[in-house]
């Protein structure tokens, strides 16, 4: 049973009376623990697909199932607990909460969940990514790579089943990119995580279990790679 299932997913935008098809009848299954890269040129629809699969956006037609639940028609409030416990997000632009320091950013999803161990878990995660000393720093006081590490910790604190990552290294230099990738992959292996990542990066793609190539909103090829 796949953890994530997309059936005939399409997405259209209305622009000046014209209909723009961004995604066309996408079918995709992702198995538990799998690391899937979505690759494609700029504007091919990677971000759009990731948003729909994760429930941040609604498809124009088609269905999305996440861990045995059809999320296509769920309301924002019905999606909230799923986002909180089942999924984690990592973005190119980090998206940390500027009014909270590193530790508080990481703790936040656990606190929403009323987890009494939120602080301990957050401290442990920050320690794991080498930011034990920077707990009290605010996002604006951190470098891009550090911010992204905090964001990864935050995505992991509620032990999600699946992580969605949209070009997590897009804003980073090659050294930092390498660090982030290693970190993500280590974590994925340790925790049996499912990882769905959109990226241009070949070095990243090479490490994936499977590469799904899209162009013009359609899946144009899939490659499975030996681990």
């Amino acid at each position: 049973m796949p953890i994530l299932q997309a059936e005939q997913v399409s997405k259209e935008y209305q622009l000046d009376g014209r209909t723009i098809s961004v995604l066309r009848t996408i079918d995709l299954d992702v198995a538990r623990g799998e690391f899937v890269v979505i690759a494609g040129s700029s504007g091919s629809g990677k971000t759009t697909l990731l948003s729909i699969l994760s429930g941040l956006d609604r498809p124009s037609s088609g269905r999305v199932r996440l861990v045995d639940e059809d999320i296509t028609d769920l309301s924002e409030d019905q999606l909230a607990p799923l986002r909180n416990r089942l999924t984690g997000f990592v973005f190119q632009g980090f998206h940390l909460i500027p009014s909270l320091n590193a530790l508080e950013n990481v703790m936040f999803p656990a606190e929403l969940n009323r987890d009494p161990l939120a602080r301990e878990k957050a401290v442990e995660l920050l320690d794991r990514v080498g930011l034990a000393q920077r707990q009290a720093s605010f996002p604006e006081q951190l470098s891009g790579g550090e911010q992204q590490r905090v964001a990864i910790c935050r995505a992991l604190i509620n032990d999600p089943a699946i992580i969605f990552a949209d070009e997590p290294t897009g804003n980073l230099d090659s050294e930092n990119s390498r660090l982030i990738i290693e970190l993500l992959l280590d974590l994925q292996r340790d925790r049996q995580l499912t990882l769905l990542m959109a990226t241009h990066s070949h070095s990243l793609s090479r490490r994936a279990d499977r590469i799904v190539r899209i162009a013009d909103g359609m899946i144009v090829g899939e490659e499975r790679q030996a681990p």
């Binding site: 759009t48 948003s51 729909i52 941040l56 956006d57 609604r58 924002e76 409030d77 909230a80 607990p81 799923l82 986002r83 909180n84 416990r85 997000f89 973005f91 632009g93 998206h95 940390l96 909460i97 500027p98 009014s99 909270l100 936040f108 999803p109 606190e111 929403l112 969940n113 604006e140 935050r154 509620n158």
Partner: protein, 829 residues
Amino acid sequence: MKLRFLLRDIVHSRSQALVFVLCVALSLVCIVAINSFRRDVQTAIVGDARALHGGDVIVRSSYPFSAGLEQALTELLARPGVTGARSWEMFSVVRRADEQGSLLAGIKVVEPAYPLYGRIDLASGKGLAEVLRPGRVVVAPAVLDRLGLAIGDQLLVGHGRLVIADLITAESLRSVDFFNFGPRVLVAAADLATIRLVEQGSRVRYRAMLRLDDGKQIAATVAALEARAVADQELVATYATAGSRVKRLFDNLFFFLSLVAVFTMLLAGIGMQSSLAALLRGKERSIATLRAIGADSRFLLRHYLLLVLLLSSLGAVLGIAGGMALERLFVDLFGQFLPDNLVLGTSLTDIIEGLAVGLAVVAFFTLLPLAAIREVKPKAVFSGSTENRPRRRETWVLLACGTFLLGGLVVRQLADLQVGLSLMAGILGLIAVISLLVGGLLAALRRLRHLPLPLRQAVRSLLRPGNASRSIVATLAAAFSVLLAIYLLQANLRAGYIDSYPPDAPNLFTLDIQKDQRQDFHLLLGEEVPLYPVIRARLTAINGNKIDRRAERKGRGDSLTREFSLSYPAGGEEDEELIAGRSLFPAEPGGRVPVSVLDNVAKMGDMRLGDVLEFNIQGVPLVAEVSSIRTRTRSMLFPFFYFLFPEEHLAAAPQTFFAALRVPAEEVSALENRIVSRFPNISTIDVGRSAAELAAVVDRLALIVTFFASFAILAGGLILVSSILATRLERIREVVHYKILGADSRFVVRVFFLENLLLGLFSGICALLVGQFAAFALCTYLFEVVYQPAWAATIGLVVLMVLAVVALGLAGSVAIIRRRPARYLRELP
């Protein structure tokens, strides 16, 4: 190309642009309307001053003219080119011939030449001289209505029985029926002896009006009359110098309205500043990008300057048009206060002046946001944020210049340097106090730990570096506090002067009872009531310093130059307490006559125990020494006297007596009838009805003030809206962040609710403190009414303010909360 870019920019930030335009318009509406209206009213009053005062030269007195003055007048009137008319004005009760009804009327006895200037229109269309023959009167329509009489019926005036000959439809010489104490009754001078009101000791205003064919003779005439007139008692003035009640009323009213207008203008300015800042904030990335591709700051500055100019011109046109439209409304708003000959119009001067004021305000309030453009570094393309930039020195120079400019503007509008500067200082002080208060509250919040998550988030957002919460709270609180103060002031004035009519207070005043009428008066009443002696006099000097009549008369409040009523104890002063001195009249150490003064007049003249006061009692000097100072413990409705003497020193002075009666309401008019038919010289004042009329006046004034204050409320609302627009991006960011981390809408709404609640509460608390304090100070020190904080209403108002802040704040976020976050993710830098 450039214009398209400009228009594109405006359309892209249309909400902010709209708020900006509205702010500019709002800042001008009140000023233009009030200035233009003021000009019209002044033209009406001053331009027609001859008609208003009835002559080129006017002599007034509260006593029969002295022999010297009479002689001077006779000599003058003998000259060619000089005509004159006399009038005697008094209040007296007029009655139906069958004694079945009576009415306090403003009686004016006039000579045939009256009016020399101005006009009196009669219902019949005939001239006054033709109709007003001996034995006849012409009356205002109210006399007929209230007494149920018709033209041709008889009317009892004093001891006279006169025939109503005509109705007055318009009168240019009316001294504005501010308090409608009595409708007009015109009596011919030939009947002065018939009605016998003057000899009987009624309070009469004697007036002689002169018309000079040669206008150049005015100054010489005034000098000639003044040389013979009794100083301080017989006042000689020209039509231009004679003060009028209308003019004073409007001077005061316009001064106050100017205050409100200036305040509205400043609030709207703050609105301009924050909406422009919001607009530019939204453009920060495109500005950074433009910079990155090589646009220099001159280009950018020019571009946005043009944008501001375009928007403010639009706002100015709207504001001026709105102001002109608003002025039309004033006629209804001001109602009975307006002079009859008012012509409304907006002159080019008003428009140009409005534009100049508008430009100055716009310039001041847009300087800072525009200057900030230069601070946007190309780097913002990457980081997206340029908050918290340090202020350059030139920013402060700009600010100082602007403040100076604005100060000049305020002073000019208020036409009073001292008040203008105090107002500016007051506003700066207000902002400083509120900033301190807010700073303290925020610091206290920072200390709090272990708050529930939503509250903690709300607090964190408020404390976020670069967040504008402090300035938002400061402006909101400033607006709120002024509104609250206006409300409290109005409520207190109403309560202090009108509503608090004590049940045991006298409701019928009888004045001008003669010495030899006292016995009969008591017989008629069937009981002994205290009769207070009244001796009319003027205060001429304090400790040898002459009272400066001109300086005193300029003041806005009560004046030491007016005529005072001296008295001696007659019983019934038990509601007064001594606050200085051992007793009312302790033994006289210096051998001088002792006088006990009331605290308010003591404050007015800065009088202390032992000070020497010089009085002029109808020509007879009296020197007295302050022996005690009294204060009142009861309402002003009970009789009181500013200056009390031992009886023996005033026994010989000309005096009348005054009684304050408490009569069941339904018996008031019957008693008035009996008193007046028995003693026509005695005036009675139905205080109950006067209070009702005063209440109507105060309500009308309150309506006017509230009307103008509502513009300040609007400006406050615009500030709120613009601050919400300014933080739109931040709020989107927050919603999206909370959502992707799994917060449901309840959580997000709760955070926003709490954040706005805190903002509202902070502003509300500051406004409450400042507003209450200001109203307390004004009531206690300026209006001298007992202050009632009206907590229930205050808290109700504050709750309303807080609700408005919360509602507006939430309304701006609901749409974001309900949508899927993906579409907003793209918007975020």
